[in-house]
Structures are given as C-alpha cells and as structure tokens.
Amino acid sequence: MNPSSYVVLSALLFSIGAIGVLVRRNAIVVFMSVELMLNAANLAFVSFARMNGNLDGQVVAFFVMVVAAAEVVVGLAIIVTIFRTRRSASIDEPNLLKY
C-alpha cells in the first residue's frame, strides 16, 4: 500500500455519492450524497497535498468545508420551506388553484 490508496478510496466514496444522488428520491438523502462527494474530493485534496509535498491541497479542503457549510444552510432552508408549503398545499387545495 502507498499513499495513493487514499485517492483510490476517495474515488470509491465519490462514486458511491454519485450513485446516491442518482438513485435516491428523498431530497435530504440526495443532498447528503452530495456532501459525501464533497468529502471524497477533500480526501483526494488532502492525500495529494501529502504526495505533492505542499499545503495547497489542505487549504483547498479547508475552503471546501466553509463552502459546504454555507451550502448546507441554504439547501436545508429551501428543503424545509418546500416541506412546509407542501404540507399546507395538500390541505388547502383551493388556495393553490386560485393562483
């Protein structure tokens, strides 16, 4: 085994995440799969940083975590909103038809 095994592992995780996005229908699980893909990319960056001997990869991974945190907030806010609308929409159907 050598450090490139980490990259192979990250490729495996990335693919599983991609399959999750394509196969699952629940928006929250789809979103989790996207997070898994981002994590896989981070693992690749971290391993490459070690293989290349510079810290740029670690810095990229750090920024990706910041981006992911912001993305999660927006994504989950949209999901919760749509959930609330749906729940009420199924109850007052006439309101929806009015528009």
Partner: protein, 261 residues
Amino acid sequence: MTDTVTDVNTGEQVVFWVCAILAVAGALGMVLSRKAVHSALWVALTMINLAILYIANSAPFLGMVQVIVYTGAVMMLFLFVLMVVGVDASDSLIETIKGQRLAAILLGLGLGILLVWGIGSGLVASPTVGLDAANDAYGGNVEGIANLIFTRYLLVFELTSALLITAAMGAMVLSHRDRWKEVASQRDLSIARFRSGVHPGNLPNPGVYARHNAVDTPAILPDGGTSDLSVPQPVRARGDERTLDQVDIDEVRQITEGSGE
C-alpha cells in the same frame, strides 16, 4: 526530510484499512438505508472515519475541523431538519422517470469503475514527497495553512464571507416570520373560552357512577339521568351509546341517597 517515500508504515496501514472499510460501509449504508435518519447516521460514520484518515495523512488541523464542522455542525443540522420534516419522511420531491433507477445505477457503477481504475493505474508509480518540509517552513501544520490562507489565498478567504452572509440571510428570509397579529395571552384565551358558551372545563368521564366504564357507557348523574356529554360524539353519532337499565339507576340513587348501607 523530503525524501520520496512510496510505502507507509505498518501502523498507518492498519489505520487506513480499518477506517477505509468503515468509511465505505458508511457510504454504502447511506445509499442503501430506507430511512433518511439512518442515512444521516451512516454518513456521520463515514465523516468521522475521514477525519481519522486526514490526521493519518498529516493533516491534523483538517481532521479536527472535519469533526467540528462536518460531524458536529453539518450532520447535526441534517438530523435537526429530518426531525422537523418528520423522521419517517420518505416523500419524493423529484419527478421519477421509468427505468431511471437502473440506468442511474449502471451510470454510477461505470463512473466508479472508471475513476477507481483510472486513478489506481495512473498513480501506481507516483512518488510521495511528504509534508514534513512544508510543515516545518512555518513552524507547524496550522501555521503553514494560515500562511497560505493569508497570502496566496487571501482573496478567496475574503470571498467566503459573501457565502456565509448569503447563507445566514437566506435561511432568515425563508424562515423568519413577521408577526402582525397580537399574540393572545393566557388571560385572553381563558376569556375567549368562557365567552364562547361551550362547556369550559373537562367533560365528564364516561362510566362515572355506572357499572361499566367503557366509553360507550354514559355517566349517570346524581339525579338519575345520564349525561350525553360523557360519551364521545362519534359513538353517539353511530348510535352505539349503551342504554342503562333501571337496576343501575336505582343502585346509584341508593348510593347517593345513602339508603343502601
């Protein structure tokens, strides 16, 4: 320190194999779990193992950030939202197309094989420089990262503040509700309840002063009549209300009048 290493020591090998297997298991568990909550827990497992792998990969700072940001904040937020939406929510929010699932699995597997094979074969002979020199240059891993963030990547660092502001404001716009009605106090609610004219307190229980206490048995009033309020409306509507025979009523009267002793 910058000698090229192509092999890693035994300790790291053990860590790698244990964490790699757990991480893949977590990822598979996420895709295969039927319930969203289970998926979230599986993916949290993957993320913790990734944190250990970062530390093994000479990235102790990122390992800690991974634990704090991903497993600590992001996954907890996911779980929180799952609780808000309902734990067993399995409602489909995207339109399904027939045969899409099989096509998606094949596509994903193809991608996976291509990636793993391509990367595996591309990296066989690649030397590893190691991070010792890079870390030592500024006195440590955290210092090294900090130096890059505040020089080479300074503009990106400042740009991320736009993301955080957008995220905070977006969440607020989608969830903050302006109040335009006075919130009713407990006193207001109480007054409203009495004004409405309906029975303000608890309704009598069924079966009080009766031989049966099933819900279809009306409570007997001290005067020998029965209370309609004590039988739930649906039971009455169906006509399932139990009628009482005279023996019961007499017995109650005896009890209340004290002549039965």
